[in-house]
């Protein structure tokens, strides 16, 4: 699967969202997104061979 982000897509989304980001910002963001997406994909529960987890977050639900 092609993971590489389209810089043009980032630019168009930035424009659509009305964010004041320049190309240097977008290059840094693209780098962060690439790294994070790769790590996320490697650690999806299906990749780890585990069951889908129960939803649990706030400590009050755990005790």
């Amino acid at each position: 699967m092609e993971n590489k982000l389209s810089f043009e897509w980032l630019r168009s989304e930035t424009k659509r969202l009305g964010l004041a980001l320049d190309d240097q910002d977008l290059l840094a963001i693209a780098d962060t997104l690439e790294k994070t997406r790769k790590a996320l994909a490697e650690n999806h529960f299906s990749e780890l061979g585990t069951e889908e987890p129960p939803y649990r977050f706030t400590p009050d639900t755990e005790t």
């Binding site: 969202l17 790590a39 996320l40 650690n43 999806h44 780890l48 987890p53 977050f57 706030t58 400590p59």
Partner: protein
């Protein structure tokens, strides 16, 4: 005597106030004098409230002379991280966008501590919005070596305590922002259970992971502060209605009958060698104090950086979206880029991150079911340079983000020094709403060791005091 006042514990000063050996005015004057002398060198404070602090000290002194102190915090100065609202005192979050922001109400924790008679001494340095640069007011430097960074993002509070420029402080912690600087500066920092302390008045980064907690010189001081800060607040819907126990009670010198866990994979890998030695020595010390040690397995521990990043920055973007449209160019590059990245994660990616979080929380719940507390090094390294912080710092949430994801309480305390004299931190984690357990472990360890008594060199006044 004056220079040593700032290095006293809150508890010890409270005793001196109660026995009328010292007055709040003397404490405030001594601290202001030292802050004026050292702040330009260390960059610890963004705002110093000298005038109002002296007025409050005068009132506290009058009240105490008439009726005695109402509680151990009465007449003690407190400093707040500059992303926590203080009524009538600017609250910048170290951002150009908030240079002139003066809240018209106190954050709930500020009001709670003030109601105990604590005196607001100043607002401490932080990274922009707790995730960016420090380029508006300059960096917060580490008192143990001013070439080194104090840590992020509650670095000003940590450095103020380490330098003897504060007696008690607050910080905020989204992925380790209390614990990492506390570790790097050699003081105690506490991230309470999610929900224990109201976040109303905290300039938010991530609603599901932000916490406000105390920073102090000793475990008992931190316990007293947390007790005063805790409790349900209608203004924070995620605050817990559970009763607040007396955290400072039941602090004992031993750990008889306690079961303490540690996990070698991940948490003992790739450590600076002195940190591994100090942490193993601390575990042996806990065993000598009567605890049983148990190795536990937490296989997902290494997989949490990316999901934390996705969740924190998606939530941060949710809060900053409108401001990024209006004032985006006024944000520093680091905060702007980190927060704006949250706009580009897809729903599937956020969901993946939430599932990894849930997997971790289930694993942690099971892993800690057989122990009372869990120990890790707080960081894999000691304080790095200020230049490294600017160029690209190492992962300072390495062992701390885990407990923001789960909401569990965790503290850091000093457990040694490296060969360059920089502090090493020990992290103690407990089960949800069991802060008393982690305080008990920390207190017993503190009584058996002397790390918390060390002072940074080279901060004496012109008379060598």
């Amino acid at each position: 005597m004056r220079r040593t006042l700032g290095f006293q514990s809150l508890t010890s000063l409270a005793g001196l106030i109660a026995s009328r050996q010292i007055s709040p005015i003397e404490i405030v004057n001594a601290l202001i004098s030292d802050i004026e002398r050292l702040n330009a060198r260390l960059g610890t404070y963004i705002t110093i409230c000298s005038e109002s602090a002296l007025k409050e000290a005068l009132k506290a002194e009058k009240d105490i002379l008439e009726n005695g102190p109402s509680n151990p915090l009465h007449g003690i100065p407190i400093v707040h991280k500059d992303n926590i609202w203080t009524k009538g005192v600017r609250t910048t979050a170290h951002s150009k966008t908030l240079t002139n922001f003066v809240p018209n109400e106190d954050a709930t924790v500020v009001a709670k501590l003030a109601s105990k008679g604590m005196i607001l001494l100043g607002k401490t340095n932080t990274t922009e919005f707790a995730c960016g640069d420090m380029d508006v007011y300059g960096p917060s430097r580490n008192p143990w070596n001013p070439e080194r960074f104090s840590g992020a993002s509650s670095g000003g509070s940590a450095a103020a305590l380490a330098a003897g420029l504060a007696i008690a402080a607050t910080g905020s912690d989204t992925g380790g922002s209390i614990r990492a600087p506390a570790s790097m500066c050699g003081i105690v920092g506490v991230k309470p259970t999610y929900g224990r302390v109201s976040r109303h008045g905290l300039i938010p980064l991530s609603w599901s992971m932000d916490n406000i907690g105390p920073m102090a010189r000793t475990i008992k001081d931190a316990a007293l502060l947390l007790e005063a800060m805790s409790g349900f607040d209608t203004l924070d819907p995620n605050s817990s209605k559970r009763p607040v126990p007396s955290f400072a009670e039941e602090l004992k010198p031993d750990l008889a009958g306690m079961r303490i866990g540690f996990a070698k994979p991940y948490f003992f890998e790739n450590l600076q060698p002195e940190i591994e030695q100090a942490t193993l020595a601390a575990l042996r010390q806990l065993e000598e104090l009567g605890a049983e040690l148990h190795e536990i397995i937490l296989p997902s521990a290494a997989n949490l950086a990316a999901p934390t990043n996705v969740l924190v920055m998606s939530e941060a973007f949710g809060r900053h979206a409108q401001n990024l449209k209006t004032y985006g160019s006024e944000y520093g590059p680091k905060a702007r880029r980190r927060i704006a990245a949250g706009a580009f994660y897809t729903a599937a990616e956020v969901e993946q991150a939430a599932q990894i979080r849930a997997t971790w929380n289930t694993e942690l719940f099971k892993g800690l079911s057989t122990v009372d507390a869990f120990i890790t090094p707080t960081l894999p390294h000691t304080a790095f340079t200020v230049d490294t912080q600017v160029q690209g710092p190492p992962d300072t949430s390495w062992a701390t983000r885990h407990f923001n994801l789960s909401g569990y309480p965790a503290l850091t305390m000093p457990c040694g020094f490296d060969s360059e004299g920089l502090p090493i931190g020990l992290q103690i984690i407990a089960k949800p709403f069991q802060e008393k357990t982690m305080f008990r472990v920390g207190h017993a360890y503190e009584l058996a060791t002397e790390w918390h008594q060390a002072k940074p060199p080279g901060l004496e006044d012109s008379n060598g005091k």
